[in-house]
């Protein structure tokens, strides 16, 4: 879908996307009914690209991460769509094949690093476990070697190999999680708010570490979060998620200087900046409950440009100069925009 994007890395054609997500639908079945957490998500990502996925709580950010890892648990269900990593459709894999694909093709850095390590196992043993589960033919020494160099690449001392999680600080634990995530050199790294519990200095160190590894491995990185500041400093492209739909997908420069979707605009102008001290511009209203989505466009009750059609028809994503936007304000402009691309 998004193949007209700017060509800043040594890509050769449109099919070199390392990650393709096509029409991904995820729903949760609850006693109160079916909640559609993701609806028709499509995006492409090239090797080495950094995509930011932003949205309020309940917008489907974490569901998206779990769906990409094929880790949605009941009552949730992936209803359709494909997640293709490096030519393999993850949704078509068996449980066992998927186990192998996690970490070696796509890896996940979870939100609370404090809670994702086993407190009674040494860091080193947890790393060896991860390698052994994927390839038991590697000798113990090679595994150790690989774990040590992974720790080194996240700037941790080799002593950490022999330590327990409680002996490490929050930032160090988060870096251990990153080290485990890159042990098998994945093609795609999904980081779900990797720094939300850390303070700014540590946050910068962790993000620098992730960036260094992205270059080393040539992997694509998806950064999930709601901190637009972090997005501005880190990613190349931003996808704005609202009630399970991508409202806009643009490069970070376009997003900050000239966002198309009213929700994206409201999000950008709610940001604190140095120049507008003391001005607060929140977004009025509340994010909709997924069980009771508004008719038509899910943002229309909070939108200041709401039109009649917004209340009845759900806008489909259209492409404008390589950007994707789902809004009736821009639906009509589609032919004009694609003519520009062709000419």
């Amino acid at each position: 879908m998004v193949d007209m994007k700017r060509d800043n890395n040594k890509s050769t054609g449109v099919n070199d996307a390392v990650l393709q997500i096509k029409d991904l639908d995820v729903s949760y079945y609850t006693d109160a009914g079916r909640a559609q957490a993701l609806a028709g998500i499509s995006l492409n990502l090239k090797a080495g690209e950094k995509l930011g996925l932003v949205g309020e709580s309940g917008s489907g950010k974490s569901t998206m991460a779990l769906a990409m890892m094929n880790m949605i648990k009941p009552p949730g269900r992936i209803e359709g769509g494909q997640v293709i990593v490096d030519g393999t459709d993850l949704m078509a894999l068996s449980e066992e094949e998927m186990l192998k694909a996690r970490l070696s093709k796509i890896s996940y850095i979870p939100q609370g690093a404090m809670n994702s390590l086993n407190p009674v196992m040494r860091i080193g043993d947890q790393m060896l476990d991860a390698i052994e589960a994927h390839d038991s033919t590697i000798s113990k020494n090679d595994m150790k070697e690989r774990s040590r160099s992974a720790l080194e690449s996240v700037d941790l001392d080799h002593h950490v190999f022999r330590m327990y999680p409680h002996e490490l600080s929050g930032g160090m634990k988060q870096r251990v999680c990153i080290a485990i995530g890159i042990l098998l050199e994945p093609k795609v790294i999904v980081a779900d708010e990797p720094t939300s519990a850390l303070d700014v200095v540590t946050q910068r160190q962790v993000m620098e570490t992730i960036d260094k590894l992205r270059v080393q491995l040539g992997a694509a990185v998806i950064l999930i979060g709601h901190d637009m500041g972090l997005m501005a400093q880190f990613v190349d492209k931003v996808a704005v998620l609202y009630a399970g739909q991508i409202m806009e997908l643009s490069t970070v420069t376009e997003m900050f200087t000239d966002s198309l979707h009213p929700y994206a605009q409201a999000l950008i102008s709610s940001l604190p900046n140095l120049d507008n001290k003391g001005e607060f511009q929140g977004i009025p209203g509340l994010a909709p409950a997924l069980l009771r989505l508004p008719s038509g466009c899910s943002f229309h009750p909070r939108c200041e440009y709401v039109m009649d059609i917004c209340q009845t028809d759900r806008p489909l994503p259209v492409e404008i100069n390589g950007r994707t936007v789902a809004c009736h304000l821009h639906t009509n402009k589609e032919p004009a925009a694609s003519q520009v691309i062709k000419s």
């Binding site: 309020e56 709580s57 700037d155 941790l156 001392d157 490490l168 600080s169 929050g170 930032g171 160090m172 303070d199 700014v200 200095v201 540590t202 946050q203 910068r204 160190q205 709601h226 901190d227 637009m228 500041g229 972090l230 997005m231 501005a232 400093q233 880190f234 970070v252 420069t253 900050f256 200087t257 409201a266 999000l267 950008i268 709610s270 940001l271 604190p272 900046n273 140095l274 001290k277 003391g278 001005e279 607060f280 511009q281 929140g282 977004i283 509340l286 994010a287």
Partner: protein
């Protein structure tokens, strides 16, 4: 004139161990004042472990200070008894970080509002209590009919955090301690809560101590700031000056590491010298010694505060040509 609230050289040491005592100085020699009739918003900023929450606990009287005095309207809070203590309890209120944990899930949110009204006998009748609740909820921008009678899980994080502010507001406080009130609230609702804090100061004359690690929001909401690191005040003064022109190497690192949502301001060029693991604590000297790119020999002795200009002071020997300022004089530099 007596001050509303005054910290006089307050130090808090936590010790543990039965035979070999190990102790941590969580707050070291901190002084500041809040004036009786000039409501202000003061930020206490610092990363985790800087002692900012300990400061809040001391201020609320939850833990006693190891040395120094905390005065409320001229009386040490540890000597407050009876009616005076109730007044202190009523007039110094808190809003905490986690808008989920402060609610009892078995009660409707009304409970959180009625308990303080009953406890402090603020209303003579049920209908008067109800009126007070409605008034407070409206003041924080909520529609009472949407809120009353609901259970906490039926409300969003932003709504819950506003109810917490409403609860404090019912008691007509003089001081509000807000410990990271927005860190768990969605970015789009953050602005609303901060706006609310500001209007509490303007319309209700409440002085606010805003405790945070997020310097962007501090800049927007506060007048003055104290930057803490491992229990000591590193730099203090006007928030405008410190965010725009930080002087202490630690504050510079901190401000340089803020990811500003601004494409023209790129993330810090200053290198982070030491990884947090490699820092040994030199207990007598500057706490930032191990990470400081300008560390000198004399930093092994604790640096006093040096006054940089009329609204800024830093605890660092880089500025030792400036005049020293005693810790208890620091609040004179803080604008209100």
């Amino acid at each position: 004139m007596t001050e509303l609230l005054e910290f006089k050289n307050v130090t808090k040491v936590f010790s543990s161990g039965l035979l070999t005592k190990t102790s941590t100085t969580a707050v070291r020699n901190v002084s500041f004042k809040l004036a009786q009739d000039d409501p202000t918003i003061m930020t206490v900023a610092g990363e985790s472990g800087s002692g900012k929450t300990t400061l809040a606990m001391l201020l609320l009287g939850f833990i006693p200070a190891t040395s120094g005095q905390i005065l409320y309207k001229g009386t040490d809070i540890k000597n407050l008894r009876g009616a005076e203590r109730m007044i202190f309890r009523r007039e110094v209120q808190a809003v905490f970080q986690d808008p989920f944990a402060v609610f009892n899930p078995f009660y409707t949110v009304d409970h959180l509002l009625t308990v303080p009204i009953k406890r402090f006998k603020l209303a003579n009748s049920k209908s008067e209590a109800h009126e007070k609740m409605i008034e407070a909820l409206t003041a924080v921008g909520l529609h009472p009919q949407d809120i009353l009678g609901r259970f906490p899980h039926q409300l969003s994080g932003g709504q819950r955090q506003r109810i917490n502010v409403a609860r404090a507001l019912v008691l007509r406080p003089k001081v509000l301690v807000a410990d990271e009130p927005v860190s768990m609230v969605d970015a789009s609702l953050r602005a609303n809560i901060l706006e609310l804090l500001q209007s509490l100061k303007e319309d209700h004359g409440v002085s606010i101590i805003y405790i945070t690690h997020d310097l962007t929001t501090a800049y927007h909401v506060a007048k003055s700031i104290m930057v803490m690191y491992r229990g000591t005040v590193m730099e203090a003064g006007s928030v405008d000056r410190i965010i725009k022109k930080p002087e202490h190497p630690y504050t510079r690192l901190l401000i340089d590491s803020i990811p500003w949502p601004d494409l023209k301001r790129r993330w810090g060029e200053t290198d982070i010298k030491a990884r947090e693991a490699a820092i040994e604590d030199i207990s007598e000297g500057c706490k930032f010694y191990g990470r400081c790119p300008f560390a000198m020999d004399k930093c092994k002795v604790f640096p006093p505060l040096f006054q940089l200009n009329e609204e800024q002071a830093a605890s660092c020997y880089l500025f030792d040509e400036n005049k020293q300022i005693a810790s208890e004089k620091l609040s004179e530099l803080l604008p209100v």
